[in-house]
Structure formats: structure tokens, C-alpha cells
Amino acid sequence: SQSSEWPLSSTEYQRYGRQMIMPEIGLRGQLQLKKAKVLIVGVGGLGCPAAAYLAGAGVGTLGLMDGDTVEVSNLHRQVAHATGRVGMSKVDSAYEYLYALNPEVNYIRHSFHLSPEHAISVFEQYDIVLDCTDHPTSRYLISDTSVLTSKPLVSASALKTEGQLIVLNDPPKPPGDLFGGPCYRCIFPKPPPAESVLSCGEGGILGPVVGVMGVLQALEAIKVLTRRSEAQGRMTDAEPATAQPVKASLLIFSAFSSPQFRTIKMRSRRADCAACSAKRVVTADSLSSGSLDYIAFCGRTTPVDVL
């Protein structure tokens, strides 16, 4: 439906007009979004709203990865699914919703759980990754793969009445370059003891809490994809573009506290990080050969396919 003279079709001008009239997006930003390939790992409480707003905004390609099927206990918070789709794969269920919202997007369905063996080959097809999963094992695997494939990573999590969000590996400089953004291992060099990890199934989760974090992931992804140059700051419009190592910024949310939101200044890349430093031990070979045992590393006891 595109004419050769206009960079967008008239339907696209109509559909995206309300965001294109803002200087932060404009035609420039809309074309950046259209060109962008975004991978969402986990189509649950975070992935559903993140996918909805990224599809709405008109990213060109949206990859959805999840090996689970829809359960009725998901529906209080996983708002891209539906009661009539209980039992269907989450990826197919979300695709039905997303295609109805915006058929202009190219959706790619990965109806399986991420594993070290194929993580790199999947991530290579995308420009940016959203970690919408729910276990430390997958968080380390996704971060390591993002570093190895040079993709910025928007990572969020939520439990009970609280949420956390951080943009990692942004800009995605090569390992050893201290001007790249820190990775998950820079912030958390050691995994938490298995007994300290609660899932949403065990700890419970309030729907709008995880919903807010997922929507904010979509926002941060849009900001990364549409910013004018790599040197500009991520979370602020006021930071001067100096040649300082990039620090990350952690947003923490607590529904029943006041204030509800806090922004925390975090560190830059760690000079001895196992994944993103010159001294790294995580390599494409060690990762895809399975020699890094993410499960044992995180002390996990339940089966691998729960990733």
C-alpha cells in the first residue's frame, strides 16, 4: 500500500499521526520504528502490554518468544490473551490480539522457550530485546546473549506490589569497551541463592503493577529506537554528551509506598565483568555449546523448559 513518492502510506500517516506530530518522534522517528526489529522474550504480564504498545506504535517487526500456553490464572494480568484462548500457545494468542490491533506489523512467532543453543541465532535477527521473563536464569542468559550480539536490552521484573526496570547494554559497545552500557552481570555479578527467588505464581502479583512495568518497557524501547544519536542519554533529555562511561538508571516501583517511583543511579560497566569486559569468560562458543550451565549457576531446581 506504499506509494513510491511517500515514505509512509496514507493509512500509516493516519494511524501514527498522533505520535508523528511530536518532535520527539516525527517522520524521522516513525521511519526508525518501521525499520526496527524488536524481540519480546516472554509474553506474560510484562510482555503483553509491552507488545501491545510497540505494535500500536508501528515497529516494523515484532518477535514474540514464549513456550507456555495460556492459563486462566494468567488472565488477571496478561491482557493480550483471552478466556477463549486458554490452552493456546501464548505466542499465538498474543498474535491474534496484536494482529487485530495493528496488521501493519510483521509478527514473528517463536513458540518455544529461549535456550542457550539457539539464543544467539534468534537475537541476531533483531535490533533490541525486551526481557519480559520471570526467572534469574533467563535474565542472565538474555543479558549474555544481548552482549554477544550487541543488542540493547530493556529488562523489567515485577512481583507482588513492586516492579523494577533497567535499560542495559545501551549503547551496545563491544565487550571490553567501557563506554558501552553495563550489562545484567555488571549490576548483579552473582546470582541470588535459589531459595531467595520467588515467582509470580508463588509470591503473587497485582495486575496493574506488572502492567505498568511492561508499558514502561515499550516506552524505553521506543526511546532507544527513535533517539537522534547514540551519544545522547537514555532516560533524560538534560545530560550533556560527554565522554564518560555510561551509567545505568534503575527505576523501582512500589504500589503502596510513597513515593511510588524512585530512580536510582547505577554503575557503569564493570572492568572485570564476566560478560562485557575485556576479561570476559562468556563467549559465543561457551554459551551455545552449553558449557555455561545457567541452570546450575542460578541454583534452579525446576525443569529447564520453564524458562
Binding site: G42, G44, G45, L46, G47, C132, T133, D134, H135, P136, R139, A156, S157, A158, L159, K160, E162, G163, Q164, I187, F188, P189, K190, P191, P192, P193, E195, S196, V197, L198, S199, C200, G203, I205, V210, K247, L250, I252, S254, S257, R262, T263, I264, K265, M266, R267
Partner: protein, 105 residues
């Protein structure tokens, strides 16, 4: 003797369960540790275990003399790694937050 140091400490991400289910605590700690050094965050962590933590599961909070992996320590809204980590000397009215990272989604 140095004056006691008034502090606000907060626990979130589930750690509040270990501290009487209360997120925010206004406390006052001694101005010096047993050796006469100015009280730092390492001392505060000890002090919290001994004086504020009612839950017996110390290993959910500390490991090898520091906070366990997966707990962030935030001093006045900055990661403690930017402030000198455990060696940061506490100032009156500092706000120290202990956050357990979440993994749900």
C-alpha cells in the same frame, strides 16, 4: 565518643518481610564501631542484623559478611558501588535502601 547517627533505612522487594513487614524504619546507630572507626555501611548491616531483624533467616539478608547476592544497597538514591560500597561512612539523615531484585514477570 561520636554522636549517634540518625538514619532512614528502607527494605523492599520482599526484604521487608524479614524486618517485621515494615518498609521504612527511622533508626539511630552508634557514631563509631567497636574499634572506634566511623560507622560505615558494613557496620550498619551488622547492626541491622543484631538490632532490627526479627526473622531468624539471616541468610536471606547477609552472606559472607555482606548483603547476599541479589540485594542492592542504595545510598541516597545511588547504588552503593558509586559511594564506596561497604566502606561508605554514614552521615546523619542518610537514606539507605536495601532492595531485593525481583524476577517475576
Amino acid at each position: 565518643m561520636a554522636d549517634p547517627i540518625p538514619l532512614t533505612v528502607e527494605f523492599t522487594g520482599g526484604l521487608e518481610m524479614l524486618f517485621s513487614d515494615q518498609r521504612k524504619h527511622k533508626i539511630s546507630i552508634p557514631g563509631q564501631d567497636e574499634d572506634g572507626s566511623a560507622s560505615n555501611v558494613a557496620y550498619l548491616i551488622h547492626w541491622l542484623c543484631d538490632n532490627l531483624m526479627k526473622d531468624p533467616r539471616k541468610e536471606m539478608f547477609v552472606l559472607d559478611d555482606s548483603v547476599r547476592p541479589g540485594v542492592l544497597v542504595l545510598i541516597n538514591d545511588s547504588d552503593w558501588e558509586l559511594e564506596g560500597e561497604a566502606n561508605y561512612e554514614l552521615q546523619p539523615n542518610d537514606n539507605v535502601v536495601f532492595v531485593s531484585t525481583l524476577h517475576g514477570g
